[in-house]
């Protein structure tokens, strides 16, 4: 299964859909945008405001830029920040991929992708390689991003110090003074108590050797992908009204100690469907006695590998998409 459906319900091999049911040369979907709204829903003034904020963010890697978040047709907490960033940067020639938990077909990813298809008429895709803009919740795609791609992260809590310090006035000062002692104390305490750092996701990083940043609730496993990525990484927190960015080829280091270095954890096995040993895996309970399958969280990655002939230990399980 390549992971794409056409309007008629049949699957194509290229991973792209068209409204008419045929694949285009580029393999991406297009549809006429809804004329009742401006391109990508937001008015041009708002987009300009967002882009100015994004420019500031790119100029100071990892620094949270306040912005006047707009109410979007999706609820706060459901990706409005990411959507505003995407709306601000999307152009008619872009190809958009939207994932949630690494999958293109989770309900919220579907909802957001449909939103942009409707309000911008941009081509959409499930293929990481073909996308120019990827909006994501909680994962970075396994396939390495390349120069010219932009990844937009949905962020619930942009402030990495928030759990340690609830006051905004205080955390603002801490960032200004690079006063991050309290963050390292937390890591010290974890190691003293458990022998290792017990942050599994949204693991704080030091960006460009200056600002501590919340990478969004991606698993710690994904952190290394941010370091010197050729892609532009943008982060939007709609409810908390902050934007931040990591420009291409910027240092992003997970906080750690020299003698307790950062370790990206994942389940210690391979994908049962495609055999991948280096991708982040979802644990799926398959029967009442607790039987388990481990499958790639990145559905495009898994599907692509299977299309290339890779097979995992339980590939015999018939994998049917509910049509």
């Amino acid at each position: 299964m390549s992971g794409a459906t056409t309007a008629s319900g049949a699957t194509t091999a290229s991973g792209a859909t068209t409204a008419s049911g045929a694949t285009t040369a580029s393999g991406a979907t297009t549809a006429a945008p809804d004329a009742a709204y401006n391109f990508a829903y937001l008015d041009e003034q708002t987009k300009r405001m967002l882009r100015r904020a994004l420019l500031k963010a790119v100029a100071i890697p990892g620094y949270q830029v306040p912005f006047a978040s707009r109410e979007m047709p999706l609820a706060y907490g459901w990706g409005t920040g990411g959507m505003q960033v995407t709306a601000a940067i999307l152009g008619s020639a872009d190809v958009l991929k939207v994932i949630d938990q690494g999958a293109d077909d989770t309900t919220n990813a579907v909802s957001i992708r449909a939103f942009f298809a409707r309000t911008a008429g941009v081509a959409t895709t499930e293929s990481t390689a073909q996308a120019t803009v990827i909006q994501t919740r909680h994962r970075i795609p396994e396939f390495p991003l390349r120069e010219g791609q932009t990844i937009v992260y949905q962020v619930p809590q942009p402030e990495p110090l928030r759990k340690l310090e609830p006051r905004e006035t205080e955390t603002r000062r801490m960032h200004a003074m690079a006063d991050y002692g309290v963050m390292h104390v937390k890591l010290y305490e974890d190691i003293a108590r458990h022998g290792r750092v017990t942050l599994a996701y949204d693991y704080p990083v030091l960006v460009n050797r200056r600002h501590v940043m919340a990478p969004s609730p991606i698993p710690a496993f994904d952190n290394p992908k941010m370091h010197f990525s050729p892609a532009l990484q943008l982060f939007g927190a709609g409810r908390e009204k902050r934007l931040y960015a990591v420009p291409p080829f910027t240092s992003v280091e997970s906080l750690a100690f020299e003698d307790h270095p950062f370790h990206p954890w994942k389940a210690d096995c391979a994908c049962d469907l495609c055999g991948a040993t280096d991708s982040y895996l979802d644990e799926v309970i398959i029967d009442d006695s607790g039987g388990k399958l481990f499958v790639c969280s990145d559905t495009d990655h898994c599907a692509t590998r299977r299309a290339e002939g890779h097979r995992g230990a339980k590939a015999g399980h018939a994998l049917t998409a509910a049509e």
Partner: protein
């Protein structure tokens, strides 16, 4: 047999269809009209306008209908719609002193110039369910209302200010913050706080105000005045250079009179808490006035001891569009993060077991 979770798009479409059906309810019953909602559920409409931050009765009534009565959802619809609207400019400040009052009460004086006007209120009703309302078509006798238009009445707090017993809040000419254009930062100025409270969830603002009455940072409030009625909105278009009236809106305003301790250098004065809401929203305006006063603690050099005085705490949690979104977002899949927690806790337990297993032989010696 493992079947991959797919078909999210179809599930969503089906869900929308169920929602539309449930909204309509029993098709044998007449459909609610937007006009009916606007007329007969006016408090619902008022609340949605206040929390949606948009004054338009018809749109608010439509939102109530579309949300099948879920007022937080309706406020969200209105807010999202507001995002798409072009902005022509700012009105002149409305003059609530010139309000054509339909209801006006003061607790601080027995009688006031302009009179106490009870108007339409639940306050003195007996809360007994009226089973006559189970049926439609009942006769509603005409209510005795004054046919003579009421003269605009001076505010009670103005009377106190003339005696220098209450500080005025003078217009120092600075532009107020616009919370819809610039994000809230702390410390917040009073215009930002008031805007935030005006759009805030009525329940939350009410509870915070209530807490000040129960000892969590109390300031002995009195209702200087609650007034409800219509005010004129004026806009001064650049092309004309003079203000023109563009319509009337209904507003509820509350001014609370609170005590101030004074100091050795300053004689004591009453201080103000201010509340303002679209439509007829007394509970909201009063709760807001209590919160406004509590949040002025810093200004008056008062110790900040109570949650209602904590600016960051109050203002960060007033917006029910934000709070509803974030609380409910927990329903979204979080299994990737949960997976990493699972891996972590399994690893920690393995290590703990290994440590205690290693310790046992030593203990045996």
């Amino acid at each position: 047999m493992y079947v991959a979770v797919k078909g999210g798009a179809r599930a969503i479409a089906a869900s929308h269809a169920c929602l539309a059906e449930d909204r309509r309810g029993d098709p044998a019953l007449p459909e609610l009209s937007v006009a009916q909602i606007s007329e007969q559920l006016r408090f619902a409409v008022d609340r949605v306008m206040a929390e949606g931050g948009l004054y338009d009765r018809e749109l608010a009534a439509l939102a109530v209908k579309q949300a099948a009565g879920d007022l937080v959802e309706a406020a969200f619809l209105l807010r999202a719609y507001r995002t798409t609207l072009p902005r022509f400019g700012y009105s002149l400040p409305v003059d609530t002193g010139a309000m054509l009052v339909q209801r006006r009460v003061s607790a601080t004086y027995k009688d006031i110039p302009g009179g106490q006007m009870l108007g339409s209120t639940f306050d003195y009703t007996h809360r007994l369910l009226d089973f006559a309302l189970l049926a439609e078509g009942g006769e509603v006798p005409a209510a005795p209302r004054d046919k003579v238009p009421i003269e605009p009445a001076p505010r009670v707090t103005e009377l106190l200010a003339r005696e220098d017993l209450m500080a005025r809040d003078p217009d120092d000419g600075t532009d107020p913050t616009d919370l819809t254009r610039t994000p809230l930062t702390y410390p917040a100025d009073r215009s930002a706080r008031l805007q935030n409270l005006a759009r805030g969830d009525e329940g939350f603002v009410l509870a915070m105000g209530y807490s000040t009455q129960r000892g969590y940072g109390g300031t002995h409030p009195f209702v200087g005045e609650v007034r409800f009625g219509s005010v004129t909105v004026e806009l001064c278009p650049e092309e004309l250079g003079f203000p023109i009236e563009i319509g009337d809106i209904l507003l509820t305003e509350c001014q609370m009179v609170n005590q101030f301790g004074g100091s050795r250098t300053e004689p004591p004065q009453f201080t103000r808490g201010y509340g303002l809401a679209f439509g007829h929203s007394e509970r909201k305006a009063m709760g807001m006035a209590l919160c406004d006063r509590a949040l002025r603690a810093r200004e008056f050099g008062e110790d900040i001891t109570a949650p209602a005085q904590d600016e960051e705490f109050v203002l960060s949690h007033t917006d029910n569009v934000e709070s509803s979104g974030f609380v409910q977002h927990l329903k979204l899949p979080h299994y990737v993060d949960f997976q990493s927690e699972l891996e972590l806790i399994r690893a920690l337990r393995r290590e703990a077991e290994a440590r205690s297993a290693a310790a046992l032989p030593e203990a045996a010696e």
